[in-house]
């Protein structure tokens, strides 16, 4: 009798810890780190040239980013920080983002339409629906289009493009090395993790976010090892080049000084988390509304749309130029903001709230119109300024209790993480990213709290439209899920009692077999019994067919001559192991034996019954949801 199949549980973490995984992940990490630096360098240069030099807008930079190209700024460039500026009409504010949008639109829609919008969604789509494949030209087009879009003032983040660039390389490497679809998917995610981990100086956050953003309520744990190795490698490569070029070895993007968590601050953080969930809901509605209800419905060629988007953000920027570009430097200003000047706080609160909503608009217009950029960076920006406005409000309302309030930087950091958790359904990635980007590990406890709370409130919506609920809903895991379902069904619960359980003696002649077939008493295959009464083999119609009508053989051939190896099932077998037997032996049905007497057939299980049980279980599970 055949022994039971020994299947390892799929998805066990250390199953993935092989030489191939490590070596491929390192290669992907090296390329992702290198690509992240080239992308950042190109973006900073283009931003300084087009915004600082041409438009005369000088944005601040985070403390940990030294590639500023400050020399390119106009001598009379408007040095911006947190605070209102006078409305200033400038034809350049209209022309530069519009031309940038047009070039980006032509590039994307002519050469790589998949590079449209924010790269993370394209990556998620490639993972779930395209077997981990990204067209080779997409990363290159995405890099150039994103640098042009954001460099000319388009509102977006760096993570989307770099995730697609890294992911695109991982996918390409998987293709040329003829890796399986499953491996290609993992290396696609590993590439994204490398890009994100490097550009945000957040190796663990990049790895965790990459496996978390694929689902609303799940993780791609099978790719964790790939992502960690790739992300750490990319982080090291990026930092090494960064140090060589800038002389800066800052381990984090933001400098937050010495922030401490105190238990009595928790109540403020809880309120902030709920507030961020509310802001997140509005943000996602604006984002999807502008994309689907305005730009998708606009009856003009697609490559023109980013130009219109550029015009609109130019108009908004005349009123509030802080909405241009990635805006990471303003978060640093918010973290360092001096809250001691009470009368000044009210206009700053109004400014922060307006900036927050205008940033929602500009990022929605930029990405929704088809411009290239990510949404993670702007989400941090919006969340950070939400937290900043809330913190400033508390300082304004309770001028006598400043010592009891958390530092303003803590509100900014928690706002960043809380909003990202809310809109991306990625609480763990959000808290780790926020900790690594700021070095604010002392805030881990409140970060956990706010990301979970805001995440719970916003489970029903996501800024990533291609995100699926969980592995159960992903085509990438269809095979695993089918197997998991079958593994949980026991044959005893499926098999129906049979009245005529047939077996056939091994000495039955071909002539007698003909009679059995003509009587139609038993379907085939049948289990064969030896003269000693033991189960011995299987007799299928395929075995008989060759000899059936040969009169010369009618007495010469008996069942023993025709039978094939015995395969049986037991009542306690799960349907997964039985399906494996069907696949391996190609029998239409298999005998089921009694656990007390291994030579007694108590029924047969047909392949169709397995499929029927699977379908019934699927219906049952869907009804339970």
């Amino acid at each position: 009798m055949e022994t039971k199949e020994n299947d390892n549980p799929p998805g066990f973490l250390w199953q993935n810890f092989s030489f191939k995984v490590i070596s491929f992940s390192i290669i992907i990490g090296v390329i992702s780190g290198l690509a992240a630096f080239i992308f950042m360098y190109g973006l900073e240069y283009t931003s300084a040239l087009m915004q600082g030099h041409v438009m005369g807008v000088h944005h601040p930079h985070p403390s940990g980013e030294e590639i500023t190209f400050a020399s390119l700024n106009k001598p009379d460039a408007q040095k911006l920080t947190i605070g209102w500026v006078d409305f200033k009409f400038s034809i350049l504010f209209l022309l530069v983002p519009a031309i940038g949008g047009l070039i980006s639109g032509i590039l994307v829609y002519r050469y790589a339409p998949e590079a449209e919008g924010h790269g993370i969604d394209a990556l998620i789509n490639a993972f779930h629906n395209k077997k981990g494949d990204i067209d080779t030209k997409v990363p290159f087009i995405k890099t150039i289009a994103s640098i042009i879009t954001m460099g000319t003032g388009g509102s977006g983040g760096r993570e989307g493009p770099i995730a697609l660039i890294g992911g695109g390389f991982g996918s390409w490497l998987g293709r040329i090395c003829k890796l399986s679809t499953r491996e290609r998917r993992h290396f696609l995610v590993a590439g994204a993790a490398g890009g994100i981990g490097a550009i945000f100086k957040a190796p663990l956050g990049g790895a965790i976010s990459s496996i978390e953003i694929l689902y609303k309520e799940d993780f791609e744990t099978d790719a964790l090892v790939h992502c960690v190795v790739s992300s750490v490698t990319a982080f090291c490569v990026f930092n090494f080049i960064y140090l060589q070029v800038t002389g800066d070895a800052s381990p984090t993007i933001f400098n937050i000084g010495d922030l401490k968590f105190e238990t009595n601050h928790l109540i403020y953080y809880l309120i902030l988390a709920v507030l961020c969930a509310f802001i997140g809901k509005i943000y996602v509605q604006i984002f999807t509304g502008i994309r689907l209800n305005i730009f998708k419905k606009l009856n003009i060629p697609n490559h023109i749309k980013p130009m219109i988007g550029g015009l609109l953000i130019g108009i908004i920027a005349m009123w509030m130029p802080q909405t241009f570009g990635t805006g990471m430097g303003y978060l640093q200003d918010a973290i360092n903001y001096d809250t001691s000047n009470i009368p000044q706080l009210l206009p700053v609160i109004k400014f922060a709230v307006v900036l927050m909503f205008l940033k929602m608009l500009t990022v929605s217009i930029t990405i929704g119109s088809g411009g290239s950029g990510g949404v993670f960076g702007p989400t941090l920006f919006i969340g950070g300024f939400g937290g900043f406005a809330f913190g400033c409000l508390l300082y304004y309302l309770f001028p006598e209790s400043h010592a009891a309030l958390p530092p303003i930087g803590a509100f900014v950091i928690l706002g960043m993480a809380s909003l990202f958790s809310a809109v991306a359904n990625a609480p763990l990635g959000a808290l780790v990213m926020a900790s690594e980007m700021t070095g604010g590990y002392s805030l881990l406890a409140p970060l956990m709290l706010v990301t979970i709370i805001s995440g719970i409130y916003t489970k029903r919506f996501s800024i990533y439209s291609n995100q699926v609920e969980d592995k159960f809903h992903s085509p990438a895991h269809l095979g695993d899920i089918s197997f998991d379902i079958l593994k949980n069904i026991i044959l005893r619960d499926v098999i129906e009692p049979m009245e005529n359980v047939g077996t056939i003696p091994s000495s039955t002649t071909l002539a007698e077999i003909r009679n059995i077939i003509s009587e139609g008493k038993y379907p085939f295959p049948l289990a064969v019994k030896s003269p000693q009464g033991e189960l011995w083999g299987m007799l299928t119609m395929g075995d008989i067919r060759e000899a059936l009508f040969d009169d010369e053989l009618s007495q010469l051939i008996i069942v023993e001559d025709l039978m094939t190896p015995l395969v049986v099932c037991e009542l306690e077998d799960d349907l997964q192991s039985i399906l494996v037997k069907f696949k391996k032996h190609h029998y239409g049905r298999l005998p089921v034996i009694s656990s007390e007497n291994k030579n007694e057939v108590i029924g047969y299980i047909a392949f169709e019954q397995i499929m029927g049980a699977y379908e019934n279980e699927l219906i049952r599970l869907k009804t339970m949801e």
Partner: protein, 146 residues
């Protein structure tokens, strides 16, 4: 596919079913495709115990399919003195064809069995085999069976 050569044809000396089967297996085992003589003998005897392969007309076709036979092996034997073989028509047997194949060669097994049975059931073929002066002549008679 093994073709019947004079070396695979034997004038049998045994006087009983058991002796005849031993002689045939011994000859078949000289073929390099038979890797275990005892296993083949056991399989042939076991098959005979299931049902006789003496199909009447003075012929018997003992056969077995086992893993220790690598490719099809056929040997032919004739006996001057017909031997009792528990045949279906209860007549003694004078022509024997032993067939051994690998257990995965089901189609080949049926094809060879059918060809031999078809050939030997023709009276003229049986008479020619028995009348042939030596095994080379028998080989000539059966060379087109397959």
């Amino acid at each position: 596919m093994t073709i019947l050569n004079p070396e695979q044809i034997i004038d049998l000396q045994g006087g009983t079913k058991d002796e005849i089967l031993h002689e045939l297996v011994s000859l078949a085992s000289q073929d390099s495709n038979v890797t275990n003589e005892q296993e083949l003998l056991a399989a042939i005897l076991e098959r005979e115990s299931e049902a006789t392969t003496g199909i009447g007309y003075g012929i018997a076709v003992p056969h077995a399919k086992i893993s220790s036979v690598l490719d099809t092996v056929v040997v032919l034997g004739r006996s001057k003195n017909p031997v009792s073989f528990n045949s279906l028509d209860e007549q003694p047997v004078s022509i024997f064809a032993l067939i051994a194949v690998n257990n995965k060669m089901q189609k080949e097994y049926i094809r060879v069995l059918a060809k031999i049975a078809q050939f030997l059931k023709q009276e003229v073929n049986r008479e020619n085999i028995l009348a042939a002066t030596n095994t080379s002549d028998v080989a000539n008679l059966v060379k087109n069976i397959f």
